[in-house]
Symmetry: C2
Subunit: 131 residues, 2 copies
DNA sequence: GTGATATGATATCAAAAAAGTATCATTATT
DNA sequence: AATAATGATACTTTTTTGATATCATATCAC
């Protein structure tokens, strides 16, 4: 079972590096210190900036830093950047599975299950995954 | 996020059908009543038999029936047939991610997370997903 | 025992998702 | 204006999932 995907994992590591680098680093710095494919890392950092976890700055002496204190970032928050959640009650299978979509109760139960997993993730701070 | 895969879903439905069919059915019967690709369904039933959820019988008047009462079958039990669990403490990524496998604590935390999800699954009876 | 009928085992193929790459545009510093 | 960083985004490769096909084996009716 794959709990999180590699993007989430890489993000976790990159954030850890930034924290240890005084809260600021650029792609080159992170890349030269960790075994993450550079263009992939770049895209991940961009997504973190997009998600307002990091703040990016272009040009010389640019790079990434935390937009807000990292202590409160949860796994849920990080994970949903890279592993999109279904809208509640939506069928996780590209239809055609249930005979009747309208009367199907399973899709609700499955999305409730995802909900519960996310609740679990809400209680996990990424800083605790670093230790 | 994909909580269960299609195989698990199909298995769930097939078992539901068998239950409603008096606890016994063969592939043709199930196939003609549900929208599951026949050879795929066949393989899934074989796996259920292998996992001792169903008992199979070959030849004329053969088919599948529950080996034990279905009431106690959990989602955990069903899911792990189709979505193999990592051995505890094992890295979910094909190595090369952590600088030092031996000192990595993350892999343990991730496998603990899977553990917790499974605990959740242990408390879900498949019969409750049918209702 | 033989033929029909069901599953067992397993190899292969196709589609989708995840992982990884490449490129050009834009902005900040000097 | 030149340089050095990220932004945006399209593309390719690899892996996983979903689906198929085939032959072997067991059971039953006759
Ligand atoms: S409609 Fe998708 S599970 Fe029922
Ligand atoms: S070795 Fe895989 S997560 Fe650390």
């Amino acid at each position: 079972m794959r709990v999180i995907k590699k993007e989430t994992d890489y993000a976790l590591r990159a954030l850890f590096f930034i924290k240890n680098n005084g809260g600021h680093a650029d792609v080159s710095k992170i890349y030269s210190n960790m075994d993450i494919p550079r263009p992939f890392l770049r895209r991940i950092l961009q997504q973190l900036a997009h998600a307002k976890i990091l703040l990016s700055k272009k040009g010389k002496h640019g790079g990434f830093k935390f937009l807000r204190p990292f202590e409160k970032i949860t796994l849920a928050r990080l994970n949903e950047i890279f592993d999109k959640r279904l809208p509640p009650g939506e069928c996780p299978f590209k239809n055609k599975v249930c005979i009747n979509y309208k009367t199907c109760v399973l899709k609700g139960k499955l999305s409730k299950l995802e909900e519960e997993i996310y609740k679990m993730f809400e209680n996990i701070l990424i800083k605790d995954l670093w230790m």
